[in-house]
């Protein structure tokens, strides 16, 4: 009788332990995590960059899908944003340096109107398309609640990295190079 109780007790403890260890493993090793409705985690689950269709400062259509096959860097910025002013010259350099390899930088300004953006772009010699961003596009990218925020998108249209703040060249460039090498 005593043996039977011991056996049942042991079995209970074993099952509980297995359950506990499995539960802990599941919690500590999630297959992926959700962020803004998109899966992020395993490399095969990189979120697809949301499409947008805007008009650039020159009146030309600016659609993300028209750059499919290129590495795209989308930069949310504003003319009055001090860190943006530091970062933009680096983006100009990147666009110059890697354009022929397939890099396309896109600037989405969070200014209220186009005029200061035009002046700013002219003064800095911005060499990539710029459009005014909007709430819909910003929210599609998980919300732009600080500037600058940039998204690095691979040739397959997946968001590879989100950069918050004025990223240093040595931080952006290796990732750009890596994505450019990928098919």
């Amino acid at each position: 009788m005593l043996k039977s109780y011991r056996a049942m007790g042991a079995l209970t403890v074993i099952l509980l332990s297995i359950g506990l260890v499995f539960g802990i493993y599941t919690v500590r090793h999630p297959r992926s995590r959700s962020q803004g409705g998109k899966l992020i985690g395993a490399s095969e689950a990189l979120p697809i960059a949301p499409e947008f269709s805007l008009t650039d400062l020159n009146g030309q259509p600016l659609k993300l899908s028209s750059f499919h096959g290129k590495v795209v860097l989308i930069d949310y910025w504003a003319t009055w944003c001090a860190p943006c002013k530091i970062e933009i010259p680096r983006l100009i350099v990147l666009q110059n340096k890697y354009k022929t390899q397939g890099l396309q930088v896109i600037g989405l300004s969070m200014d209220d109107g186009p005029e200061p953006v035009r002046i700013f772009a002219r003064e800095l010699g911005i060499n990539y398309p710029i459009a005014l961003g909007n709430v819909k596009v910003a929210e599609a990218y998980g919300g732009v609640l600080g500037l600058p925020i940039a998204f690095l998108i691979d040739r397959r249209g997946r968001i590879s990295r989100k950069l918050v703040g004025d990223a240093e060249m040595q931080s952006i460039e290796p990732d750009v190079q890596k994505l450019l090498r990928q098919p």
């Binding site: 042991a10 260890v21 009055w80 209220d112």
Partner: protein, 170 residues
């Protein structure tokens, strides 16, 4: 299996469980520490007379509405439209030419001793172009209880991501 073997097995499993529990607890502790670090962002010493921390403002949002400070957003409209502090009124970017007039218009009937909190959150505190000009304007108008919300990085990281209350819309 002998009873002693069962006890050894039990002991072994207990050890595994204890280690697993310790691992989990350690993981949670890291998260908690991280959350606590985030939750206790202190206003820099030199700014304590002029700034209020997000945590302090969250507490003020819980008192009766009539006793709450007037909260004015002097940041970019597109950021305000995505998420803002409930009850906060949009003015204009503090660095813009329109800001002073909008600010004056909003506070013209407000007693100078009324509490006002200004916030922006577009950029890291030390590089925000909007908050200090708006603060200077209100102070020069004679408002004595003006505070700037200390946003160390940006509104997303220092308010929304912490789960503090937000509203959206223009």
């Amino acid at each position: 299996m002998k009873p002693s073997s069962w006890f050894r097995a039990l002991l072994h499993l207990s050890s595994i469980t204890a280690v697993a529990l310790a691992m989990t607890t350690a993981g949670q502790a890291q998260v908690v520490t991280h959350a606590m670090n985030q939750a206790t962002v202190a206003v820099p010493v030199g700014e304590r007379d002029t700034a209020i921390s997000p945590e302090e403002l969250v507490k003020l949002l819980q008192i009766p509405k009539g006793d709450q400070p007037i909260i004015l957003n002097v940041g970019p409209r597109l950021l305000y439209a995505q998420a803002h502090i409930p009850g906060a009124e949009y003015i204009a970017p503090g660095s813009s030419s329109a800001s002073n007039e909008m600010l004056k218009k909003r506070v013209q009937a407000v007693p100078h001793g009324r509490s006002i909190v200004l916030y922006c959150g577009c950029c890291p505190w030390s590089r925000c172009p909007n908050i200090h000009p708006a603060y200077g304007e209100l102070r020069s108008m004679g408002f004595t209880k003006v505070k700037m919300l200390y946003i160390a990085n940006n509104f997303g990281a220092d308010w929304v991501d912490k789960g503090y209350p937000t509203a959206k819309g223009k």
